[in-house]
Amino acid sequence: MAKILMKGNEAIGEAAIRAGCLNYFGYPITPQSEIAEYLSHRMPEVNGMFLQAESEVAASYMIFGAAAAGERVFTTSSSPGISLMSEAISYVAAAQCPAVFVNIMRGGPGLGGILPSQGDYFQATKGGGHGDYHLLVMAPNSVQESVEMVMRAFPLAEKYRNPVIILGDGLIGQMMEPVEFPDHLISEPSDKNDWATTGMDYRNSNKPNLVKSLFLVGNSLEENNRCLKAKYEQMKKEEIMFATYNCDTNYVALIVSYGTMSRVCRTAIDLLKNEGIEVGMIRPQTLFPFPEKAVQEAAWKPSCKVVTSMELSMGQMVEDVERVVQAKRPVTWFGVAGGIVSTPEEIVAEMKRVIHAHQ
């Protein structure tokens, strides 16, 4: 298919439909409202379901219901809305249902602002809801990558029977870029006969399927937790995605950055290269599972003297970077928040300062 020019939010909506998801329940919130707006007219065209719920809480339990019934389903929201959905996300994870959530992050905490931010890293990767669970977290840095990640998210959610979250931000959602919907990412829905509540008559079975998140008897809860843990370990082996930039040089410093911030860092690295300073960048595309080995190897390269985590937050991913670098290199953090996106010049100045301080 030819490339077309699309707004990030609309492309995300279209990608879900191309991926075979015909159920959307949501609630509008800036800066992701265009996804709902787009789907409100696009879903009826493909005989899909579009429903604007009375709140994010209601929408998220509609997701739970549809997922339990074995349907491909997704919702989108922005930071405060994802907080409201977090209870249901925990339930969906506990009940082992596949569903896709998209968080077009805005500044927080509280109602915060409506401009781009990466303040929900902790929420997405470390919890958000209660209990021992993880989401598979993917972070795109372009409209094209958003489309690809959304299309990949549905088969991944079904493979693990676990919620997947796409962590974009206001800039990715609001920006227009040329985009292509790759046919090879279209996937067939998986066989759900073993677990989904599709009806015994319908699937010619004499075994009822039960979807639940309450485990009171004996050690059934521990068994469920161990089952979840095994899935997260499998994700760490099979689903890690990352990209590198300028990492084939003998860089003196390494930037770890994701999403929108990585685009600014890419320009900053080019500017530094013109001045004869080599800086490498590793960009996690999956935030959970975090590309631990890749970041570690890149940080431990003999030429590399310092590792900097660049974020649109007051220091969240830096904790994971510190964890994997294991104090073998100094780890610093640089970030802006509150809807401000830093300029390449600010990053160039910060990298020069950091490199000078750790020579």
Partner: protein, 71 residues
């Protein structure tokens, strides 16, 4: 020939690209938000504007238009 300069404030997301690109530094962001909550661009000094159309080309949301009005 006269020209009409228009910014569709409700379409503007306040990205500031027009402000940065304007050769005459005519544009700025309003301190009052539009219906979507963004702070839209406006012309601070209309008389300094030379109607070059750079802002129209730059605007990613096609919110700025300059049209000719035939007398």
């Amino acid at each position: 020939m006269d020209y009409q300069y228009q910014i569709d404030a409700d379409r503007c997301k306040g990205c500031g690209l027009c402000v940065a690109v304007c050769p005459k530094k005519v544009l700025s962001l309003l301190q009052k938000n539009n219906s979507k909550g963004y702070f839209p661009a406006y012309r601070v000094d209309e008389s300094a504007c030379v109607l070059c159309g750079t802002c129209c080309i730059m605007c990613p949301d096609i919110a700025i238009t300059i049209t000719s009005i035939d007398n």
